[in-house]
């Protein structure tokens, strides 16, 4: 059955695109400099009913942005500086489209914010790990999500023309919070004084001119007539500062060619299977079928076919598909299939060439996909059983899960085992800045290194004993245990589970990233469901309406 409509009656959202199909962005690469211009097509919204006026965006715009950043990483290794700018004359970006938000369901709004956050963090990672300097050239009003996009760049230049301003008008205008990390980046990243930030965030029209620089809301304010020249000159300085390894050709990312079904999707290495009635999804990731050649040249030659890249691109697409097109699926079961040795062969080759520009990008990409898994508001169980290959990079899936069940069946032809690889040591850091092993063993900080050094193969009992899996039911109990676990999970309130899981998954230190997601899931989501924003007389509901909002004045 062809997948044309989600269970909720809407066209499914697809996440693969290509610069030739962009409606809203132009990506221009010239030597070491890439320019990404936002020129949003008013009538090009993902759903009907909200024209994207004044460079306001919806999910479709952000999907293109994410694609552009991804292509800069893989297709344009020569790029050392990225300029984010507006393709329109009089406006930079007025943020997420308010009518779109007003029309959207609560889960969609939250998933939208989560996705845009992941994109912004990807932009920051491009600089921090990828060595590409990013500069946001703001000419024209830059409001809400527009300023949050600017905040995700290394530097912000603002034109001083009397009308270009930066602002976060969400609180005074819409009674919600900036949903893409704006508040956190303001005080944590740019270190804007919190009292000034307080003034700024309640001033709907924002700040323009020299004061924007005085308050460190932007790095530099430039007279309009000198703006282009100043930006261009600075871009050259940034190119010189870039640490990007540019000694490889670049890889043009091919389409995944997935087959979408109404109850799932099939990819080369990944299958997504939805059980709508049970609110359960199953993602199966398959091991490579051959050994991975070693050496950077050989890995580059594999290109799009490289398992580490291809399988994780597919996993990424499956996770997004699950998030946006299957809202009611509460439990995600993770399975793997194939020869563990082939996964370890891939890991070994990747680890050995980790300093190569291309391999580096693939590892960073895998890391982002695994973070996407962490960030998915679904209960996640991993099942280790005969025929599975939870080893090395695929064992990260199990570490990302809320629980792992490892079938204890010594009589099986080849009992299921788990194993670590060098990549578990820190290639795939979580948002909290720790590896998943470190996060798991916060109570015993020595253990990750010890386990990595041991390099053992663990059967169910051994894995349970060292704490690499949660439970190891024996073959007799397995079916019942698994069925009960699934049924029990499916019966608990999805809201409570989302909150609980998000709290437990990020043990350890706070980072900018965990703060952003933490604030998002706690404060923003709460405010989104409060009458003062989305009730019948709430500010978001009333926006653009002839009547003014009414507030419940009780503080919570």
């Amino acid at each position: 059955m062809a997948d044309t409509v989600t269970p909720h009656g809407q066209e499914p959202i697809r996440f693969e695109t290509h610069p030739s199909r962009y409606k809203h962005w132009k990506l221009a690469v010239d030597g070491a400099v890439a320019r990404l211009s936002m020129d949003i097509d008013e009538d090009g919204g993902l759903r009907p009913g909200y024209p994207l006026k004044l460079n306001s965006y919806d999910l479709g715009v952000d999907i293109e942005l994410a694609d552009a950043i991804q292509r800069l990483r893989f297709e344009h290794p020569a790029v050392k500086t990225l300029v984010v700018q507006s393709g329109k004359d009089r406006v930079f970006c007025s943020g997420a489209n308010i009518y779109m938000l007003g029309m959207s369901t609560h889960p969609f709004k939250v998933n939208f914010c989560k996705y845009t956050n992941e994109t912004r963090l990807g932009l920051e990672e491009l600089s921090a790990e990828g060595g590409v300097k990013t500069l946001c050239a703001v000419n024209g009003p830059c409001a809400g999500g527009g300023y949050e996009l600017a905040l995700a760049c290394d530097e912000i230049y603002l034109s001083d023309d009397g009308s270009s301003a930066v602002s976060l008008p969400e609180v005074p205008l819409l009674a919600v919070l900036p949903g893409t990390g704006g508040l956190t980046r303001l005080v944590d990243k740019r270190k804007v004084r919190r009292d000034l930030a307080d003034v700024f965030c309640t001033l709907a029209e924002g700040i323009r001119g020299p004061r924007a620089a005085q308050w460190n809301l932007v790095d530099k304010v430039v007279p309009r007539s000198k703006f282009v020249a100043t930006v261009d000159a600075h871009v050259q300085t940034l190119v010189a500062q870039s640490t990007r390894v540019s000694d490889w050709e670049g890889l043009v990312l091919e389409p995944l060619g997935a087959t979408y079904r109404s109850d799932g999707a099939d990819y080369r290495h990944v299958t997504l299977q939805i059980d709508q009635a049970a609110h359960v999804a199953r993602i199966t990731v398959r091991a490579p079928t051959t050994d991975t050649p070693t050496g950077a040249t050989a890995l580059r030659e594999q290109g799009n076919a490289l398992w580490a890249l291809r399988a994780f691109r597919e996993l990424d697409d499956a996770l997004l598909n699950l998030r946006f097109n299957h809202e009611t699926i509460g439990l995600l079961l993770l399975e793997t299939e194939g020869d563990p040795a082939k996964v370890l062969s891939s890991d070994a080759a990747m680890f050995a060439s980790r300093d190569d520009g291309f391999v580096h990008e693939v590892l960073l990409f895998q890391r982002r996909v695994l973070k996407r898994l962490d960030q998915s508001a679904r209960s996640i169980f991993a099942f280790v059983r005969e025929g599975s290959c939870f080893v090395g990079s695929l064992f990260e899936l199990s570490l990302a899960a809320d629980r792992t069940y490892h079938r204890d069946d010594p009589d099986a032809e080849s009992p299921a085992t788990v194993q670590l690889s060098a990549l578990n040591g820190g290639a795939f850091l979580m948002s909290n800045g720790l590896s998943r092993l470190q996060t798991r063993f916060l109570h015993d900080p020595e253990r990750p290194a010890k386990l990595l050094a041991e390099c053992s193969i663990y059967d169910a009992r051994a894995a349970e004993k060292v704490g690499l899996v949660t439970l190891a039911p024996d073959a007799i109990d397995w079916d019942d245990e698994v069925r009960l676990a699934i049924e029990e999970r499916a019966s608990i309130s999805p809201d409570a589970l989302t909150g609980m899981e998000a709290s437990l998954r990020y043990a350890g230190p706070e980072t900018l990233e965990t703060k952003i997601f933490g604030r998002l899931s706690a404060w923003q989501n709460w405010i989104f469901t409060r009458p003062n924003s989305t009730g019948p007389r709430g500010a978001l509901t009333m926006y653009g309406q002839p009547e003014r909002p009414e507030f419940d004045w009780r503080r919570t």
Binding site: D160, D161, G162, E205, R224, G544, Q545, P546, E547, R548
Partner: protein, 473 residues
């Protein structure tokens, strides 16, 4: 009635001496204003004695004083109409409650924006017109130009008074900003697009004062309904001055038409251009341009800002008391929208359509002068009538921007528009021709340039030959 202090540094009827802090702040702003005037005011006439009216009170009979003055010495003052006792809010969600003498915090930013936007247009128009004196068609017209200019300067004072008095440090900074921006400047342009285009010739000046100053009139009418009483009182007095600006425009165009008819009659082919006049189709094209530019100034047809301003009681409709329903919540207005390349009528909540309501009133008012002009053409036996183009024609903002319409309001393609552009809007040749008529000033009292007829009357009972401007050299 409020007492008037005309001998102060800053003439005023707001008892400025009782608020030393404010007085000092305004007295500090004053020299900066004069510097701006000297730099950006009328070029080449700052030393001349001009026969100008100066506002000295707000009494309906005799509020102004007429005499010779050098423009930099003009007594720009602060005048608010007398307060109406127990005035209550006339529209919006606070309807019927007492008006505000201080600004409610909730509306502070929006009011500041409104005032700054209005205030910015005042010096902008002076800057746009600063070179016109050098090509004046008569001393009478030269004086009228300067009268308009100094009064736009006073309107700036009116807005600056509000900013200084009610908006604290932000207000003072905005007041400085009003002197920092420059019409057409790359770096610090004026806020509204239409105020960054220079007013290059006298036909444009008359169209500007007829159409663009009339936008000003309607903005002031809407603001004079404001719940913020000082704003209402300030703008009400500004309206009395604005009337003269539109008079200059209306009679200016009328006199051009008058002369054009005369020249057509003299020419064997009825060709006004052959006789050194401005032909009627060119006048129509100038009208089309300035009218459409002025329509843009009213803002978007469907506007959440407009709804908020009305709901909050900040900006009403012109002459709000003529409306029956001052809440305007259950009403809608039918707007012609463009959907899939076709025009369709759609009902919009009335409050969101307030800009369009004001624009509608403006269009009706604009038509009155056009009718007068056409009566003259008919009287002269000329078979030509000027028309206001459709409000969809040549718009740069709002729901019709980016779509091409002919002057009748029919959707056309870009290619069709370009093919007819020079029939509908002044072509570079038109502009060059009009400018070629206006290369030298006419300084001889009573004399008129060839392309314009004399006015019916002089000013304040003075004859047309009166020396309205005494040149200094």
């Amino acid at each position: 009635m409020s007492s008037i202090a005309t001998n102060e540094k800053i003439p005023n009827n707001v008892d400025l001496t009782s608020d030393k802090r404010l007085q000092r702040a305004l007295e500090e702003w004053q020299p900066r204003f004069v510097d701006w005037w000297k730099e950006m005011g009328p070029e080449g006439f700052q030393e001349d004695q001009i026969y100008l009216r100066t506002a000295v009170s707000v009494s309906p009979d005799g509020w102004a004083h007429f005499d010779y003055v050098k423009m930099p010495d003009y007594r720009w003052g602060i005048f608010l109409t007398d307060p109406i006792k127990d005035r209550t809010i006339g529209f919006g969600d606070h309807y019927g409650k007492p008006v505000w003498q201080q600004i409610p915090g909730e509306h502070r930013n929006a009011l500041r924006r409104l005032i700054v936007t209005q205030g910015d247009t005042e010096p902008a128009s002076v800057e746009q017109q600063r070179l016109l004196g050098l090509t004046c068609p008569s001393l009478y017209d030269l004086r009228n130009l300067f009268q308009v200019n100094v009064e736009e300067g006073r309107h700036l004072w009116a807005m600056v008074y509000l900013l200084h008095t009610y908006f604290g440090r932000d207000g003072r900074e905005e007041a400085d900003g009003l002197l920092d921006r420059r019409s057409g400047a790359d770096d610090k342009p004026r806020i509204l697009g239409a105020f960054n285009e220079p007013c290059q010739d006298w036909l444009s000046f008359f169209m500007f004062t007829y159409f663009t100053d009339r936008d000003g009139k309607y903005q002031l009418l809407a603001l004079s309904e404001s719940s913020f009483d000082p704003l209402a009182r300030t703008t009400r007095f500004m309206l009395t001055e604005e009337a003269h600006h539109m008079f200059v425009g209306e009679t200016g165009v009328l006199r051009v038409l008058d002369r054009t008819c005369e020249l057509m009659a003299q020419d064997p082919n009825q060709d006004a251009r052959a006789q050194g006049g401005i032909d009627l189709p060119t006048i129509q094209r100038y009208l089309n341009r300035w009218y459409s530019v002025s329509l843009d100034l009213f803002g978007g047809e469907v506007s959440s800002n407009a709804a908020n301003f009305f709901a909050g009681g900040l900006k009403g409709r012109a002459k709000e008391d003529r409306y029956e329903d001052h809440i305007a919540l259950d009403q809608t207005m039918t707007l012609t929208m463009v959907k899939d390349g076709r025009l369709v009528d759609e009902a919009v909540p009335m409050r969101n359509a307030m800009n369009e309501v004001l624009r509608g009133e403006y269009i009706e008012d604009s038509q009155r002068g056009v009718d007068k002009w056409n009566r003259l053409l008919a009287e002269r036996g000329v078979n030509f009538a000027l028309t206001l183009p459709s409000s969809r024609f040549h718009r740069q903002s709002g729901i019709y921007a980016g779509i091409h319409f002919d002057p009748a309001g029919k959707i056309i393609t870009e290619a069709e528009f370009n093919a007819h552009k020079n029939e509908w809007l002044p072509s570079p040749e038109d502009e060059a021709y009009v400018k070629s008529l206006m290369t030298k000033p006419v300084f001889e009292p009573g004399k008129m340039a060839n392309w314009i007829a004399p006015p019916k009357h002089g000013i304040k009972g003075r004859p047309i030959e009166f020396e309205y401007v005494k040149r200094s050299e």
